[in-house]
């Protein structure tokens, strides 16, 4: 391909890969302070500040900031809380679901926000921790509601032939204990990682083609950078969608654990 042809003049193009997402700033190894952790801390600071500022002087006739905060909260509360978990019990899970939604949303958007340009969730540890939190919450509230034995009993739908019960039980147990948390974490990670990799590839590849190529390749490089802009718009859609899906799935798992039968 053209990249191979370009490599003839000495400097070769390095395709971006997994290693580009490991960016330790202070220290090294497991305890290093990485770019991802700084961005995550920044997101916590921004969300806390925005929500505190938006709810400081609450009034019946809301200020602009209050109206915006309430609109965002109302969206999550009605669309994800009441509709999915049900009007009886959704209120006590709203702090968790709203936190998950805002946290994931802002961290995803950091991928395209200038200066920061780093999606925290492209390091698998961050979505894994969020998924572990959701995992413990839905098992805990399920056991709290049905009792430990009752919770495991409720995994199997009633009315099955007795010979099928062990198979269905094992299948449901694998779904609940393994598949759900793993897919929850990997879905977010995969989308953010692949999306950001794509943007980096388009822009860095285009830049390399413009810098080192002949005239035809330079034009193709310009097209590649233009494509990077188009993909950025698409990525914003994916980022918002993934934040919504993460919070939606957390709500669905909680609703499933609370339901009388799965």
């Amino acid at each position: 391909m053209s990249i191979v042809a370009l490599a003839a003049d000495g400097s070769s193009f390095e395709t971006p890969g997994v290693a580009d997402f490991w960016q330790p700033l202070i220290g090294d190894g497991a305890w290093a302070v990485t770019r991802a952790s700084i961005v995550a801390l920044l997101s916590v600071a921004i969300i806390s500040w925005a929500l505190l500022a938006g709810t400081k002087k609450l009034a019946v006739v809301p200020s602009k900031k209050q109206a915006a905060t309430e609109a965002l909260y109302g969206l999550v509360r009605e669309g994800l809380g009441r509709d999915v978990i049900g009007s009886k019990e959704f209120l006590r899970f709203m702090p968790l679901i709203f936190t998950l939604f805002t946290m994931v949303l802002l961290n995803n958007l950091f991928s395209v926000i200038p200066v920061i340009y780093f999606p925290t969730m492209s390091r698998v540890a961050f979505p894994a921790v969020l998924a572990i939190v959701v995992f413990f919450v839905y098992h805990y509230i399920g056991m709290q509601k049905h009792g430990v034995i009752g919770y495991f009993k409720s995994l199997v739908p009633s009315g099955l032939p007795i010979a099928l019960v062990p198979y269905i039980f094992v299948l449901e147990l694998i779904t609940d204990v393994f598949t759900r948390p793993v897919t929850l974490a990997l879905r977010l990670f995969g989308n953010m990682f692949a999306g950001h990799l794509l943007l980096v590839l388009f822009v860095s590849g285009g830049q390399y083609m413009i810098a080192h190529g002949a005239i035809g390749i330079k034009i193709a490089g310009g097209g590649s950078i233009l494509m990077g802009f188009v993909m950025t718009l698409f990525e914003i859609l994916v980022q918002v969608l993934q934040a919504y899906i993460f919070a939606l799935l957390a709500a669905i798992y909680i609703a499933g654990a609370l339901a009388d039968e799965h």
Partner: protein
């Protein structure tokens, strides 16, 4: 030509979810076209189906990078 066959595995693993996601949204569009007031009810279901179908492709992507060495 150099490279890793695990990346081809990702390409293969993306076929099924691609079709699946298409089917999910086709059904969603059909539903909304027939009954526009059901949009609010169908939307979470559509996105749930989308997320579950997409998970397989994401597994493929993750494994493609895991088995690269």
């Amino acid at each position: 030509m150099t490279g890793n066959i695990a990346i081809l595995g990702y390409g293969l693993s993306a076929i099924g979810p691609g079709i699946g996601v298409g089917l999910v949204f086709a059904a969603y569009i059909n539903g909304v076209a027939r009954q526009p007031e059901a949009r609010g009810m169908l939307q979470p279901i559509a996105f749930l189906g989308f997320a579950l179908a997409e998970a397989l492709a994401i597994f493929g992507l993750a494994l493609a990078f895991v088995f690269r060495k």
